[in-house]
Structure formats: structure tokens, C-alpha cells
Amino acid sequence: MNTALNLLHLLTPESILVETILVVLIAGLFKATAQKRNMLLSLTLIGGVTAGAMLIFQPHYGNIANGMAVLDPLTRFIKVVVLGLSLITAVYAVQSNIRQHFAEYLALILFTAIGMMLLAGTENLLMIFIALEMVSIPLYLLAGFLKQSSASAEASLKYFLVGGVSAAFLLFGISLIYGTTGATSLRDLAQSAPAVTRDPLFLAGLVMAIVGFGFKVAAVPFHLWAPDVYEGAPTSSAALIASGSKVAGFLILAKFLAIGLAGAAGSAASSQLQPGWLPLLAVIAAISIVVGNLAALSQSNVKRILAYSAIAQSGYMLLGLSATGGTALISVLFYVVVYALTALGAFGVVLHVEQRRGGSQLHHFEGLHQSAPGLALCMGVFMISLAGIPPLAGFFGKFYLFAGALGSASQGGNLGLLWVVAIAITFNAVSLYYYLIVLKHVFVTPATHPAEPVTRRNAATFVTGLLAVSVFAIGLYPGVLLDPLRAAAQAANRKPVTAAPVQPK
């Protein structure tokens, strides 16, 4: 009884989102018009903002049923971020070419948001799996939402098949881990994992779990779905897959590894490799960086470029995860959040071009600086930030990440991860090529398309501009994002481990 009440208390924001879904679905029963789409969006935003406010005013700490649902400042921070990203996606959706079943589309976005929030707020393997599925299944649907478009349907099917197999691997991996350690809660796992670090079954479970998560964050070689899905899915869906889903996926992977398996890390230092998740992660990171950056070079579709860029960026983030330790975790989260904002913004620009010019091939971007100078400028900010050039946020993300990776003491010496960092920096230079190719088409190549009317401002372009400004601002004052993140992480570390269910503020 008490647990149920506490659970309700802890999950109030999620509950509000569920109610919002119901309201939106009911409102969606009426005939679809443009005004109604805006009304539905308003309902969604009201519900989302209310949930966000609830989130902020919740108690600081909570822990129900041995980690099934937890709350601490860091979790709350990530929950707010994924909720915000989902809402921005909803704003994008209004501008996209989704005309039918718009209410259902918004509802699916909210479902995804609930899944991501639950995923962020759990420390139990079972709950992790369930939440991950709660994220994945709406995303499959969102990817295939353009039912008339065969590309969309194909993307959805591919996403679903690969996702299903990955989920199977993840579940199998979790089973093996449970079988060898007897724990599903990450904190229990942390107690029992060190005893079995050299048990082959446990290691097999570890690999399988990482395959499952690797799919979620689109790391090589579990990445193959990503370009097809990014290209085929409606742009707003792809934006959510690229941003929110990635943030949630990385947070849970970080929790899984850093909390649950801290004792089974092994070592990825080139001089003293030890079995564990660190060498796995380092290898996956290196391959992702190489493959993602190289494959992006030959793409002609901006969405595919963004997909491969996302794969490479996942490599950077995995590299950050391989450097365990408090500051490294913060730098990964900083990087992930900055990346999510940037990618979301870039998809915003893509959305605009797609709506105006009917495609997202590179040549559709030609002369954008004339027809939509503001958006062209935004695209410049996003691409340069992704390439990691100062003074934009992406530079500081990479800087903290690499600095964290080089300084990580757990790697047997200060420069144990140098080999991965060296690869990362080399291929970061390669990545400049395809980021700048996009900008070349935006700024340099004259338009071959007939001139279109100058863009009217709408909510989506406004949000895109806002994202560009925030990327710029975080670049100038990294503390804007870093300080709250650091404060939250410190507060989360101070959390009493044997927490009573819900503690008032």
C-alpha cells in the first residue's frame, strides 16, 4: 500500500503524461484541420510542461522496490532533458508532412517520452529492459508513420527487426548476468559482480547486454539500421531517435556499467588489457569512430550524413564512457546533451528544407543562405559544433571528453586510452569534410532551384533558432550546462545508498 502510494508519488510526471496522452487522443477524434493540429500541439505542450514542472518540484531522492524506480538530482536532470527534447520533436511534427492521425503521432511521442523517463529513472535490470522496450516500440511506429511512403515502412520494419533481435540479445544477456550473480538491481549487482569477473558465462552475458545497448546508441557494428531509418522515417521521428532516444540510451548504459558493473570493468589500456567491459567499449568506440566518419564521406543525403555522424558521435561518447570516474561521466553527459541539442537543431533545418524543396539531398540545400538566411546560420552553428570547432558547444564537449579519457586514472596510467583518443582526433579531422560539405552547399553553391518565397516564421524555425542560440551560448559559457550537471552528479553521489522509499525535501 505504502509502496504503491510512493510509486504514484514518484511517478507523478509520468502519470501526467499518460493523462495528456488520453486527452490528446480524445481531442484527436475530431476532424483534422491545421488549426486543430496546433490545438493538439498546445495540449501536448501544456501536459508536457506541467509534467516538467512536477518533475522539478518533486522530492530530491527516492528509491522504490530496490531500484525499480529511483530519483536523484542527476536522474531528474536527464528526465527534464529527454522530456524537453520530446516536446521539441512534437513542435517539429506540426511542420512535418504528417497530416493524418496527428493526435496518435503526438501520443506516440509522449509514450516515447514516458519510456525514456522511466529508463532514466531505474536501477534495475528488469525495469531497464521493460523501459527500453517502452521506448523502442513507439519509435518503431513513429518511424513508419508515413504509411503511404514505402521508405518509411521499410525503415520501420528494419528498425523493428534489428531492434527485436537486439532486445532478444539484451534479455539473454541480462538472464546470464542474473544467472551468474543472482542480482537484478544494479546496486546488488555491484556487490556480486566482482566475484565472477572471469566467469565466461558472465562475460557472455555482458557482451550480449552491450549488443542490446549498442543497438540503442547505434554503435558499430549494431548501427546498420541507423542510416536507413534516419533517411526513411519522418524527419521529426528521426530527430527523436537521434536526440532523446540517444540521451536515454547513454544514461542507462552509463548507469549499467558504472554502477552495476564497476567491479567488472577490466582495462582497455593498450599495455595491460584485462577482460571486462572497458576493452569492449574502447574497441567499439574506435570502430564506430572510424566507420561512422568514413562512411559519412560518401553520402549525398543530409539525413544519412547525420546518421553516420551520429554513429561516429556515439563512438566519441563510448570513448568517454570507457574513462570511468566522476568527471568522465559528467563529460559524457555534457557531450550527449550538447549532441542531442545540436542534432535536433540540424534536423529542424532538414525538416524545413524538406518541406520547402521536397528532399534532403545535398543539392536541396543549395543557396539556403539566400532563401532562409537565419536557418542557414543555424545550420552553420550546428555543423561547426558537431565538427567540434571552438567556440561552439561541441568543442567543449569533445574537449572535456578527451581530457577525461586521457586523465582517467582507472586506465592503468594516465595515458592508457591514448590509442583511442588518437584515433578519435584523427578521424575528427576527417569528419570536417562532410560537415563542411553541407555548409558549402548551404553557403557557397548558388541555388539551382527556383527561388521560393521567403520563409515565414513558424514555431519550428523559432525552436531551431533557439537551439542554435543555446549551442552558441553553451560554447561561450560551458558552465551554463556543466555546472548544473556537476552539481546534480555530486548531489546524486551523496545519496544515502539504503534510501528510504521517498524522502521529503
Binding site: 528494419k158 527487426l161 534489428v162 533481435v165 565466461p200 536507413d228 577482460p275 576493452p279 569492449l280 564521406l297
Partner: protein, 666 residues
């Protein structure tokens, strides 16, 4: 209001006015003059207020230090200081400066660049007051250099005249020579004392602990304190025109006359004397007649006599005054050298009043006879410019040291008295006495040339406007009235500097030592005046100077300033030029050859590397770029779009990872 704010305001107000007027347009003449004079009036009022406060205060010095720069764990602090010395000097400087500003309104009325002139004047005033109130040698040095800059700008104010531009350069470079010594001395002082603050609750560089350390440390047989003192004295000698760095001061008369009055008579040139007086404790760290003080005394006495001699044979009205200034600065240095700060400061302030008066009087004369400066082309001006004549005569008598009613008499007597009591040698006293005699003589000569006899020029002299004569009257009054506080009977000023109250004692006048000196100097002054009248006053003057007629060679030597400039030209400047020639030759032949060789070599390398670049690197780079792109296509091509393949890769990936871990395990 607190004292620190007031102290800071005194230099800051003129600085602020300078900053604002610098932005004004050339046409906004009235506004710029109003701003500058207004700021100066307030600064003057504050400094007089502070002076009044210092008179009544019994607490001694007021020190305010504040942090300026922090680097590492060290904080560099600057500070402001109000003690009798700075209060008296500040009051005099701001007051005389204010009068000269007012005078400038009239003198510079016709000038196009009136606004610029006032900007520079105000900049100078701020910097000079900064020197006065500074409590840190570093702040002093900063303001000192700003003063030098302002002086440079003002001497070269009419930069379209080549002579003015050259004089500005000469002044700046000559004083820089002295400033090098100052700078080194400052570094050394920082090393020796660990601070450049003068007073800092016992930790300042002029306080007991630091002085004792410096007096104990010996370098090459000399106490460090003496070396530092001499190095700082280099800077002071440069600014105050002491031999052998005096050459710039007469040339500086190329500047507008108010500038000569302000900078090169009353204030800036006195800064050197003030500096020595300020850091006097370093000079006396090893006891009263120290090595450094002896050097100061000798240089001062020599300069006094030497400059007075040259002044006898000058014909430019301002140059005579310039050499007279050099000579009087020598008196002040002599007073410092024999250990009497009081006499030096007394003479400094008295001199500031009457020398500013004389310069402004000379300016009035020059203005009246239409920019003529040669005294041989003047004459008989006393009835054409009566007010100027009267005030000039007062200034002249004060400078000559005419007894009793003129401040110059008392202050010069104080210097002579102090020199007479110097235990080391009587020679400086005798030289100073000779200089005093010459002073009376050449001033008489000038008076006769300028004001008496018949007019020898070709224009129509006229009296100057009130805005110019009013400051003359005020300064003339000051030159007379200052004698009230300067007599030994009521040595108010000296006692104020020493920090105790003065008693009124007529008996001091009858003190045998003083009486002796006073009578001697009176005799000297009268004989100088008489000799002047005897040579120049009895007959109408012609183009040839009577002395020249008597002994052409001696006169020419003096008229040519003892050939010091020529000596410098022949030695130092030739040496510098020679070094320059040699450097140029080395540059042209050896270095340029090397450069050319390097260039040729570089060409060779660049041809080679161009070849390499073109055939190897570009080839390689292009190829690797293409290869990269091809790899990219290859990798991208891996995904044929068939989901079965995707899943296969996924499975294979897992197996590979498992194998990898297995390998690590084994």
C-alpha cells in the same frame, strides 16, 4: 569625505579633463578651456584644503595603499601619501598650474590648436600631481614618465617648426637617459626592500627596517642604499636639468611660453628635486654626509655656477631664464646634498613662484613686441608695458635675492647657510656664492637690455591683456608674501616640513652663523647688481655686448654654452652615429648576405619541396583522400539495404566481441 578620495581626485580630475577635451573638436575652444580650468580649480581647491588639513593635523602622514595587480601570491600595491612635503608641493603645483592655465587662455588665443594645447596641459597637470601625491616609487615612475610625455608633447607643440620638433626629441631622449638610471634603481630597490611603497606601516621602503638592510648590504665597497640613491638621482638629474644632462632644458624654450613657465620653471623640473627630497631617507641610510649626498651636493654646486656663467652671455630672453632655472635647480640640489631638505623645498617653492612670474613676464614681453625673443632688439619697455615691467622687476629682484622683502633672498640664504655648515667642504658654498653673484649680474643685464634705454626693435610694443597680467600680479604678490614664512625668524615652512610647530623668534636673525651668511650674500647681491649697472646701465646699449667687446673669446665660449652640445655632438652622438653606421654596414653586407644566402637556400628548398609536394605528397594526399572516400563508399556499401545482412553483421559482431573477451581471458 575621506582623505583617500580627495587625494585621488586631485590628479584624477585633470586626467579626466584631459580625456574629455581630447575628444572635443578643434572649434570647441571655450568649452575645452572651461573644462580644463574648471577641473584644475577644483583640484587646486582640494589640494589647498588638504594642505590646510596637513597644517592643522598633528597625526603626521596619511597613507592609503591599495592593490593594483595580483599575480600569483604577490600583490603589487600602489598608494597615495599626504605628508607635509607632498601637501606643500601639491598646493604650490596646483596653484601655479592654475594661474598658468588662465594665462594660457590669453597667450594661446590666436593658436589654431588651442583645444589640443589645453588637453596636453591638463594631462601634464594630472601626471605632475600624481608624482606629488604618490606613495609608491612605481606610481611615481609611471606619472614621472607621463610628465615626460606631456613635456615632449608641449615642447613640440609647434611641431611644424623643425627646431621645436628637435627640441622635443632632445628633451625626451636626454631625460630618458637619466630615467634608465631611475628604472634600474627602482628594480634594485624592489629587490633590496621587497616593496616600492614608501610608507606601509613599517614595511615601506623608506622605513627603518628596509633602510637598515640596505645600509648594511655592501656592493663593491658602497652600501646598496647609496647605489640605489645615486641611480634614482640619475633620473632626478635628467628631469631637473643637472649637469651633464642639462642640455635639453634651454632648447625646451621652443615650446609656447606658458609651457616654459609651467613645466620648465615651476613644476616639472622641480620634480627631480622633489623626488630626491621624497626618497631622502635612502640617501641618508648610512648617516648624514653619505657618498650619495656628496655627489648630489657637488653636482648641484657645479651646475649652479656653470649655468649661471652661461646665462651671462645669452641673448634670448627665455634662454637666459632657462639657464637661470638650471642654476637655481643646482642650488636646490646643493641644499639636498648638504642635507637640508627644508632649504631645498623652501627654495623650490619660492623659485616656482618667481620663476613662473619671470617666464610669464617674458611671455608678456614677447607677446608685446610681436614674437621677438632677442633682448638686443628690445629696450625701453618700462613705460610701454608698465605692469609687466613692475611685476618682472619684482621677479628679478626675488631671483637675484634682493634682501628682506623678497622670498628669493630668504630661500637662497637658507641654501647658502646650509652649505656653509656642511662639514665636508667649503667649496660648494663658495661656488654657490659665486653663482649668486652671477645671478644678480645677469638679471641686471637682462633688465637693462629689455626695459631700459631706448627701444631698438621695429614694431610697436603694447601691454598684454588682463588675462595675462592678472596672473603676473598674483604671482608677484606670492613671490613677495612667501618671504613672510621663509625667514629664519619665523621658519614656519621648514618647521612644517619637519613636522613641528614654528616659534616666532627674532633672535634667530641674530644667530652668528646666519647673520654672517646673510650679510655676505647681501654684499654679493649688491655687488652683482652694481657690476651689472656699471657695465650695462651707464651707456646706451648697442649690438655688441660690452663683455664681448672686452673679451670676445670668453664671451663666445659662454654664448655657445661652453660647447657642451658640440662636445656631445662630437662624442656621444658621433659615437652613436658611428655605431649606427657600423651596424648598418654589418646589416648591409654580412647580415644581408646571410639573408640573401638563406633566401637562396630557401628558394632551393622550396623548389625541391614543391617538387616533392607535387609529385609525392599531393599524389599521396590526393590518393589517400580518394582512398578514404572509397573506403567510405565501401563501408557504406556494406549495407546493401537487406535487413538479413544487418542481422548477420550484428551476430558476427557479437561473436567477434565474445572471441575478443575470450582471448583477453586466456
Amino acid at each position: 569625505m575621506n582623505t583617500f578620495l580627495l587625494l585621488a581626485l586631485v590628479p584624477l580630475l585633470p586626467f579626466l579633463a584631459a580625456g574629455i577635451t581630447a575628444l572635443l573638436k578643434r572649434e570647441q575652444r571655450g568649452l575645452s578651456a572651461t573644462l580644463v580650468i574648471g577641473a584644475q580649480t577644483v583640484a587646486c581647491a582640494i589640494s589647498l584644503f588638504l594642505f590646510a588639513g596637513a597644517i592643522t593635523a598633528k597625526s603626521g602622514a596619511i597613507v592609503h595603499n591599495f592593490p593594483w595587480l595580483t599575480f600569483g601570491n604577490d600583490t603589487l600595491r600602489l598608494g597615495l601619501l599626504l605628508d607635509p612635503l607632498s601637501a606643500g608641493m601639491g598646493a604650490m603645483v596646483s596653484f601655479v598650474t592654475l594661474l598658468i592655465f588662465i594665462y594660457s587662455v590669453g597667450y594661446m588665443k590666436e593658436d589654431r590648436n588651442f583645444t589640443r594645447f589645453f588637453t596636453f596641459l591638463s594631462l601634464f597637470s594630472g601626471a605632475m600631481l600624481g608624482v606629488v601625491y604618490s606613495n609608491s616609487l612605481l606610481l611615481t615612475f609611471i606619472c614621472w614618465e607621463l610628465v615626460g610625455l606631456a613635456s615632449y608633447l608641449l615642447i613640440g607643440f609647434w611641431f611644424h617648426k623643425p627646431s621645436a620638433a628637435a627640441a622635443a626629441k632632445k628633451a625626451f631622449i636626454t631625460t630618458r637617459v637619466g630615467d634608465m638610471g631611475f628604472l634600474i634603481g627602482m628594480f634594485w630597490l624592489y629587490k633590496a626592500a621587497g616593496t616600492l611603497l614608501f610608507y606601509d606601516n613599517g614595511a615601506g621602503c623608506l622605513e627603518q627596517a628596509a633602510l637598515a638592510t640596505m645600509a648594511k648590504t655592501m656592493v663593491g665597497g658602497l652600501a646598496v642604499s647609496n647605489i640605489i640613491a645615486l641611480l634614482i638621482f640619475c633620473g632626478a638629474a635628467g628631469k631637473s636639468g643637472q649637469f651633464p644632462l642639462h642640455v635639453w632644458l634651454p632648447d625646451a624654450m621652443e615650446g609656447p611660453t606658458p609651457v616654459s613657465a609651467l613645466i620648465h620653471a615651476a613644476t616639472m623640473v622641480a620634480a627631480g628635486v622633489y623626488l630626491v627630497a621624497r626618497v631622502f631617507p635612502i640617501f641618508t641610510a648610512t648617516g648624514a654626509p653619505s657618498v650619495s649626498l656628496t655627489v648630489v651636493a657637488c653636482i648641484g654646486a657645479f651646475t649652479a655656477l656653470f649655468a649661471a656663467l652661461i646665462a651671462v652671455a645669452q641673448t634670448d630672453i627665455k634662454r637666459i631664464l632657462a639657464y637661470s632655472t638650471v642654476s637655481q635647480l643646482g642650488f636646490m640640489m646643493l641644499a639636498l646634498g648638504v642635507g637640508s631638505v627644508g632649504a631645498a623645498m623652501l627654495h623650490l617653492i619660492a623659485h616656482a613662484f618667481f620663476k613662473a612670474l619671470l617666464f610669464m613676464g617674458a611671455g608678456s614681453v614677447i607677446h608685446g613686441v610681436h614674437e621677438e625673443q632677442d633682448i638686443r632688439a628690445m629696450g625701453g619697455l618700462w613705460n610701454k608695458m608698465p605692469l609687466t615691467f613692475a611685476t618682472y622687476a619684482i621677479g628679478m629682484l626675488a631671483l637675484a635675492g634682493f634682501p628682506l622683502a623678497f622670498s628669493g633672498f630668504w630661500s637662497k640664504d637658507a641654501v647658502l647657510h646650509a652649505a656653509n655648515l656642511w662639514p665636508v667642504s667649503q667649496l660648494p658654498f663658495k661656488m654657490a656664492a659665486a653663482a649668486a653673484f652671477l645671478t644678480a649680474f645677469y638679471m641686471t643685464r637682462q633688465m637693462f637690455y629689455v626695459f631700459f634705454g631706448s627701444y631698438r626693435g621695429h614694431t610697436h610694443p603694447h601691454e598684454s591683456p588682463v588675462v595675462m597680467t592678472l596672473p603676473l600680479v598674483i604671482l608677484a604678490a606670492a613671490a613677495v608674501l612667501f618671504s613672510l614664512v621663509a625667514t629664519p625668524a619665523w621658519p614656519w615652512f621648514e618647521d612644517f616640513l619637519a613636522g613641528h610647530n614654528a616659534g616666532f623668534e627674532l633672535a634667530a636673525l641674530r644667530e652668528p652663523g646666519f647673520l654672517h651668511v646673510a650679510l655676505t650674500s647681501t654684499a654679493i647681491v649688491f655687488s652683482g647688481l652694481l657690476l651689472g649697472w656699471f657695465i650695462y646701465g651707464r651707456r646706451p646699449l648697442s649690438g655688441v655686448d660690452p663683455i664681448e667687446a672686452a673679451s670676445a673669446s670668453a664671451y663666445n665660449t659662454l654664448a655657445n654654452r661652453c660647447y657642451i652640445d658640440e662636445l656631445y655632438d662630437a662624442t656621444i652622438i658621433r659615437l652613436v652615429a658611428l655605431t649606427g653606421e657600423i651596424s648598418a654596414w654589418i646589416d648591409r653586407t654580412i647580415l644581408q648576405g646571410a639573408v640573401n644566402a638563406t633566401a637562396g637556400f630557401s628558394f632551393l628548398i622550396s623548389y625541391l619541396s614543391d617538387g616533392i609536394d607535387r609529385f609525392l605528397i599531393n599524389f599521396g594526399f590526393d590518393h589517400s583522400c580518394n582512398a578514404l572516400r572509397e573506403y567510405g563508399s565501401g563501408i557504406a556499401g556494406c549495407e546493401g539495404g537487406r535487413v538479413q545482412g544487418y542481422l548477420r553483421v550484428l551476430g558476427v559482431g557479437m561473436v567477434v566481441l565474445l572471441a575478443f573477451l575470450g582471448w583477453l581471458l586466456v
